[in-house]
C-alpha cells in the first residue's frame, strides 16, 4: 500500500488547517454560503436533506486496518454510529456538524486519509479494480498509476474550477470491474506487441442525464507521458467544455458535440505542446510508488482444499470468493447487503470488525468496491471458515455477491437533497421478495438511482430502476439490459413507471420471464439480449 512521505503528510495537514480557517471565516460571516460552498465541497462536505454530509476519499478503494478502524471511530465520535460506502469506493457520513468537520479531517490525516476533492467541479477521487493485486487476469497492478493520478490531480491549480465534476478510473485487466468506460476518463493499462506497458485512454463516458459509453481516443500512450496526456485532455475540456448549462457541462457532451476525431485532434495538439513543458513526473516516481505495492508475503506450497461440509459456508464460498492468482488464497467479498438491509451501510462495530479481520486474515488490506461492498483481497483458504464465522455472526456473511440481493442503491430521498424518490426502501423490498430465489436467479446486477444523476448506476444494471417525481409522488421507471465491464451497454426503459409496490412486482415478473426462457447457463442479461424486450414488456404490463 502507498505510504505517505513527509511531503504527502504536509500537504494533507496543510489542507486541514486551510479548511479550519475557511470554516472559521464562514462561521464569522467573512464569506457567504455561495463563496463557501465550493470550498466545502472540495473537502467533501455537502449540505444534505437532514444535515451536513462528509464524503471521505478512499483512493482507488484501498485501505488498511488502521484506516478502517478510524472510519469506525469517526462514525461513533462525530456521526450516529454508521457510514455509507458509495459507488465511487468512498464512504460518507450523514450527520456531520460543520463546526466539527475540521477535527474529522485532522483525525483522518492522522491515518493518511482525507476528503480532498470528493466533490466539486474538480478531478475527483480516482477509482480502480477492487481486486487489484489479487486478480489472475491483470496485466499489472493498476493502483500505482491511480496513485500517480491522485498526486497529479490533488490541488491541481488549473483544473479546480472545471465546467463540472470529473471522474477517472484506472484498470489493468480485460474484465472491467470498475465501469471504466462510464467515466470522464477511463484508463486501461495495456501491454503492446513489443511487451511495453502503456495507457489506453477512453474519454467522455458517463451516466447521469445523458449516459454515454466512452470512446477510445488513444489506444496506447507510453507510461512516461500519460500524465501529460491526461493534462491535455483536461485542458481542452477546461477551455471548451460548456458552461452555459449545468446538464451539458460534462466532458461527454464536449466529446459528443465536437466528435471524437476533433476532440482527439485538439488533445493531441495540446499534448504535443505540453510535452515541451516538463509536466510529466519522471519514471523514477512511478517506480517509487510501485515499490509500495509489492505483493504481500504469501505462503507457498499450501493447500487449495477447503472443507465444505457446512452447507451455508459452502454457499458463501461459492458465491463471495474469487479465485486468487496465488495458489492457496482467495479474494473475499464481504457483503454489505444483508437481506432487507440498507445497501452499503456499515455500523462502527462492523467497520472495526472488518479492520480486525483484515489485520488477521488479509495482510492488513481492505478494498471498497463500486458495488458498495468490502473486499479482503488476500485470504488464505485455510482461514476461510473462521473468517466466515466471524462475518456471519456480525451480519456480514450474506452469500449474495452479484446476485439479486446485491443491489446498488444511492441514498435517495431518505438522505439526499437532489433525490426525487427514495431508493433504499425499494432495494429493501426487492431484496426481501427475491432473495429466497437468489440461487435460482443467479447473477443479476440490480441498480437503483433516486434521481437522474444516476449515482446508483441504473443505466448499467442488468435491471435498473430510476426514481422520479411525478407530481410530488414517487414513481419508478424500470430499465433492462444495461451492463458495465468489457461489454458495457446502457439499459432500455420498459415503459410507464410504477409506484413502490408496483416496481417490486415488475422486477419479480421480469425475473420470472428470465427463468421461463433461460437456456443452459445463461444469465439474466444473456437471456434478455437473446430474446429482447418484448416478452418482458408483455409480462410486466400485459
Amino acid at each position: 500500500m502507498y505510504k505517505y512521505d513527509t511531503y504527502d503528510q504536509q500537504l494533507v495537514d496543510t489542507r486541514v488547517e486551510e479548511f479550519r480557517d475557511q470554516v472559521r471565516r464562514r462561521l464569522e460571516g467573512h464569506i457567504t454560503e455561495d463563496q463557501f460552498k465550493p470550498l466545502r465541497l472540495m473537502n467533501g462536505l455537502y449540505l444534505q436533506l437532514h444535515a451536513y454530509m462528509l464524503r471521505v476519499a478512499v483512493p482507488y478503494g484501498t485501505l488498511n486496518s488502521a484506516q478502517m478502524r478510524m472510519l469506525g471511530h469517526i462514525a461513533d465520535k462525530y456521526d450516529r454510529g454508521y457510514g455509507h460506502f458509495t459507488t465511487r469506493q468512498n464512504i460518507q457520513y450523514n450527520w456531520i456538524k460543520l463546526e466539527q468537520a475540521p477535527d474529522i479531517l485532522a483525525d483522518l490525516a492522522s491515518v493518511e486519509m482525507h476528503a480532498i476533492q470528493t466533490s466539486g467541479n474538480c478531478i475527483r477521487n480516482t477509482t480502480s479494480d477492487q481486486y487489484a493485486g489479487a486478480a489472475a487476469d491483470e496485466v499489472v497492478d493498476p493502483r500505482p498509476y491511480a496513485e500517480l493520478i491522485r498526486q497529479w490531480s490533488t490541488f491541481h491549480p488549473e483544473f479546480s474550477f472545471l465546467p463540472r465534476k470529473f471522474k477517472m478510473a484506472v484498470i489493468a485487466s480485460d474484465t472491467d470491474r470498475a465501469a471504466m468506460r462510464l467515466h470522464d476518463i477511463g484508463i486501461k493499462i495495456v501491454r503492446n506487441d513489443a511487451s511495453d506497458l502503456g495507457a489506453a485512454f477512453y474519454v467522455g463516458g458517463g451516466m447521469g442525464r445523458t449516459p454515454m459509453i466512452a470512446p477510445c481516443i488513444n489506444p496506447f500512450v507510453p507510461l512516461d507521458r500519460f500524465i501529460t496526456y491526461a493534462e491535455a485532455c483536461l485542458r481542452v475540456y477546461n477551455r471548451h467544455g460548456r458552461r452555459d448549462n449545468k446538464y451539458k457541462a460534462r466532458i461527454k457532451i464536449l466529446v459528443h458535440e465536437l466528435g471524437k476525431e476533433e476532440y482527439t485532434r485538439q488533445v493531441e495538439a495540446e499534448f504535443a505542446h505540453l510535452l515541451t513543458q516538463g509536466v510529466e513526473p519522471p519514471l523514477a516516481e512511478l517506480e517509487r510508488i510501485k515499490a509500495q505495492f509489492t505483493e504481500p508475503p504469501f505462503e507457498v506450497g499450501i493447500s487449495d482444499e477447503v472443507d465444505r461440509s457446512d452447507p451455508d459456508f459452502a454457499l458463501w464460498l461459492e458465491t463471495n470468493c474469487l479465485a486468487h492468482r496465488q495458489p492457496g488464497y482467495v479474494a473475499v467479498t464481504i457483503s454489505l447487503k444483508p437481506v432487507g438491509g440498507i445497501p452499503g451501510d456499515a455500523s462502527a462495530d462492523q467497520m472495526r470488525l472488518m479492520a480486525d479481520l483484515a489485520r488477521d486474515y488479509s495482510f492488513d488490506e481492505l478494498r471498497v468496491t463500486h458495488a458498495q461492498n468490502v473486499v479482503l483481497p488476500h485470504v488464505k483458504k485455510a482461514d476461510l471458515y473462521a473468517l466466515w464465522q466471524a462475518l456471519d455472526a456480525a451480519g456480514l456473511g450474506t452469500a449474495n455477491l452479484d446476485r439479486i440481493g446485491d443491489i446498488i442503491a444511492c441514498p435517495g430521498l431518505d438522505y439526499c437533497s437532489l433525490a426525487n424518490a427514495r431508493s433504499i426502501p425499494v432495494a429493501q423490498k426487492i431484496s426481501e421478495r427475491l432473495s429466497p430465489r437468489s440461487d435460482e436467479i443467479g447473477e443479476l446486477k440490480l441498480k437503483i438511482s433516486g434521481c437522474i444523476n444516476a449515482c446508483g448506476h441504473h443505466h448499467a444494471g442488468h435491471i435498473g430502476i430510476l426514481g422520479v417525481d411525478r407530481k410530488g409522488v414517487e414513481n419508478y421507471q424500470l430499465l433492462l439490459g444495461g451492463n458495465e465491464g468489457a461489454d458495457t451497454s446502457l439499459g432500455t426503459i420498459t415503459g410507464p413507471g410504477f409506484d413502490e409496490d408496483g416496481i417490486v412486482d415488475a422486477v419479480d415478473r421480469a425475473t420470472g420471464v428470465y427463468l421461463a426462457n433461460k437456456q443452459g447457463a445463461e444469465r439474466f442479461l444473456d437471456t434478455y439480449r437473446r430474446i429482447g424486450m418484448a416478452p418482458f414488456k408483455e409480462a410486466i404490463y400485459g
Binding site: 460571516g29 454560503e33 449540505l47 460543520l98 427514495r422 410530488g472
Partner: protein, 98 residues
C-alpha cells in the same frame, strides 16, 4: 400556508421558522405569508440559518404538513432508520411521509 425551512449553519440540523427563531419541529412552523422573502434574507444574512427556503404546507389535525414529500422526510428523518428520526418510538411515523 407558506412555511420556512433551512439548516442550522453550525450543526446542519433541519429547522423551521416559528416566528421568533428556528425550531427543530415542523409543528412549530408558522405561516410566513408575504413576509417569507424578507425573513429569509434577514435570517441568512445574520447566519441564524443556512440554505433556507419557503415551501407550501397545510395545517392539519396533529400539526403542519409540508406539501412535498421531500420536506416531509426532512421534517421526520430518514424513513429507513426509524431510530434516527424525531419520532423513534413511533413505528408508524414513516406513514406520515407518504
Amino acid at each position: 400556508m407558506k412555511i420556512l425551512t433551512g439548516n442550522d449553519l453550525k450543526t446542519g440540523a433541519v429547522v423551521w421558522w416559528d416566528g421568533v427563531s428556528w425550531s427543530l419541529h415542523v409543528e412549530d412552523a408558522i405561516d410566513a405569508g408575504d413576509q417569507a422573502e424578507t425573513i429569509l434574507a434577514r435570517e441568512q444574512a445574520t447566519r441564524r440559518v443556512n440554505a433556507a427556503y419557503a415551501i407550501d404546507a397545510t395545517r392539519e389535525e396533529g400539526g403542519v404538513r409540508p406539501a412535498h414529500i421531500k420536506e416531509r422526510i426532512r421534517a421526520l428523518g430518514p424513513t429507513v432508520r426509524a431510530d434516527l428520526t424525531l419520532k423513534p418510538a413511533d413505528p408508524e411515523a414513516g406513514n406520515w411521509v407518504i
